[in-house]
């Protein structure tokens, strides 16, 4: 589904990603872990198409398409969803209106007609139940005045509505208490399908207790320095990142 080859990216002239190689197939859950400043968030931003980041080298192929040629919205329409570490507040735009616009634009992109309004509301209600979010959030301004947990739940709810091929969860666990974390993780697990894939970006193992990854990558200094199965999570939790840093520096 996703193939990243030798990806180099920089921000404000400073190189952050220094040659990333990564392949993700449908149905897989990949965890990308790493210490602060390793480039985790840069990677998710580059995948989602944030213009602040310049890609100087490398390729990203998504379902046979060159992702780097697509604008941020077209990537979303192709099925990439990023759950923001810090969801943006948009005063005056209600969540429901926001989602309706998004879904219809995505449908239009694929040559489909608008979602019938009645069905749309039905679908929204279903997804709300699935994720377990409060009805009231729908008509409030997007993320405005939401608590940290509400914001993250809202991200997962949006993911449920937009049904992406590839979901990137960028530090979704940050700032969540254990109950909110469980709700968010539950939502993600319920949405898992054989044809979809998920990237979980995180600093801690906490979230990975609930969303069990098939593959774990360690990102350090702009490169993936270690790739293993889910047993790596426990090892990192126990030993921290220092041994990986040492390993890399020794090499």
């Amino acid at each position: 589904m996703l193939k990243i080859t030798n990806l180099h990216a920089s921000v404000d002239g400073k190189e952050i990603l220094k040659g990333i190689n990564l392949e993700i197939k449908a149905g897989e859950v990949h965890a990308i872990m790493g210490p602060n400043g390793a480039g985790k968030s840069t990677l998710s931003s580059v995948l989602a198409g944030r213009e602040k980041f310049q890609v100087s080298q490398g390729e990203i192929e998504f379902n046979g398409k060159n992702l780097l040629e697509l604008s941020a919205e077209d990537r979303a329409r192709e099925g990439i969803f990023m759950s923001f570490q810090y969801p943006v507040e948009i005063p005056g735009v209600s969540t429901v209106n926001f989602l309706k616009t998004a879904i219809n634009e995505i449908r239009k992109y694929h040559g489909q007609s608008s979602y019938p309004p009645g069905d749309f509301l039905k679908m929204i209600r279903q997804k709300m139940e699935l994720v377990g979010i409060d009805n009231k959030l729908l008509n409030r301004s997007l993320n405005e005045g939401f608590s940290g947990g509400e914001k993250k739940k809202n991200e997962i709810f949006q993911m449920a509505v937009l049904e992406p091929m590839l979901a990137i969860l960028d530090e979704t666990d940050s700032g969540l208490d254990i109950d909110a974390l469980r709700v968010v993780a539950n939502g993600v697990n319920k949405l898992k399908r054989p044809e979809n894939a998920t990237i979980v970006i995180t600093h801690y193992q906490r979230l990975l207790d609930y969303i069990v990854p098939d593959v774990v990558h360690v990102l350090y200094d702009g490169r993936i320095v270690k790739t293993a199965g889910k047993e790596l999570v426990a090892e990192l939790e126990e030993k921290g990142y220092d041994w990986i840093k040492e390993e890399v520096n020794r090499a």
Binding site: E51, S71, E73, R77, P91, G92, V93, A102, E105, S141
Partner: protein
Amino acid sequence: MIGIEKINADFTKLFKEGSALLEKGCSAVMNVCRKEAIEQFVKLGGIPHKQENYIYTDLLPVFEKDYNVVLKYIRQDVDINEVFRCAVTDLITDPILTVNGWWFDRNICSELPEEVVICSLKEASLKYPDLFYTHYNQYASKANQDSLIALNTAFAQDGVFIYIPDDVVLERPLQIINLLRANGDLMAFQRNLIVLGKNAKATVLVCDHTLSEQSFLMNNTTEVYLGENAYMDYYQVQNQHMGAAQINSLFVSEQRSSVFDSNIISLYGGFIRNNMYVSLNGEGGECNLYGMYILDKKQQVDNYSCIDHIAPHCTSREHFKGVLDDMGVANFCGCVRVRPDAQKTEAYQTNNNLLLSDAARINTKPQLIIDADDVKCSHGATIGQIDEEAMFYLRSRGIGLDEARMMMTFGFAHDIIQHVKLEPLRKKIDSLVEKRLRGEISKCNNCMLQCNK
């Protein structure tokens, strides 16, 4: 400034020559004020020119057109009720029409509680001399340094009079529909007086429209008196054509524990000047002024406000937002004054602007004059563009660039619209604003003429 001098001379001449017509049918109170006002107008040097309160407003282009002034009521040749249909169809109101500043002779105000008085100002001046004596020109004189207000007092003959006695609560909103319709370019004056007794409650919706394509200059002044614990929810939707100029002044006198909520939505018009003066005279008074303006082409909207905290323990909130495109010019001047005795005042004022084009211009002047120490006051103003981070968020959900910008702009404006408590009206304004931002409507959407000027 030969232009201005000539205009000023024309006004005094018109006053002199037209005095018989001007005074006809109006009470002595009105006519005495009228005479004093023209003197004040002359004393102030005529229409404002480079005065602090009009520092960013060039009135010459507004006044220099060759307008007709009609000093008596001309009966309309059609039934305005037929010509004009309110676009907010699911809002049930008691409509009151004015045409070119005059009370429309076929207004029907039935179904209102008996003691409530709604009639022509002229008529009221004779019928209710006590009310008139107590209130007429008492609040407008607060702006005795503004010669445009003096001009209104000097020339206005008619308008709407509303009296809601103590303890009366109006169920339905009153809708004052000010229409402009003429065969030639027209300058008109209108004067309204609204008095709410103790514990009275009313919602007033004012709609300004043009029904013909001539140039108009409307000078409209409204005085509002809110008795103890009275509540008024005031809306004004301004939707006129490019050739229309409007000087709209609102004076509110609030007594103890009264509340005045207001939303002024400037959707369209060539030149709009809104003056708002609110005096908080009694403890516990509250005033919320919200406003929004959307400008393109060569439109100009000025919002001038002065909130005077005279009594302690009052609260005022003021928030105006504007979206400026093309060569639009917006001026905002908000003055919050806290008098020495007005301790425990809370006053907040904000003005935010979104500039969409390089030719658009904004001047903003948020002012605080604080003479009491135990107060919470703040003001802020911003001028900026659409937040890039938010744009990215929208785009990452598949929303295209233009649509995302539209949504952001709409959200920016909605911040104000959400204060509209009448749901059908809020929905209508929302949709008008959305259409407006998409460029789908120009001016009076509901104007039958659809002249598209």
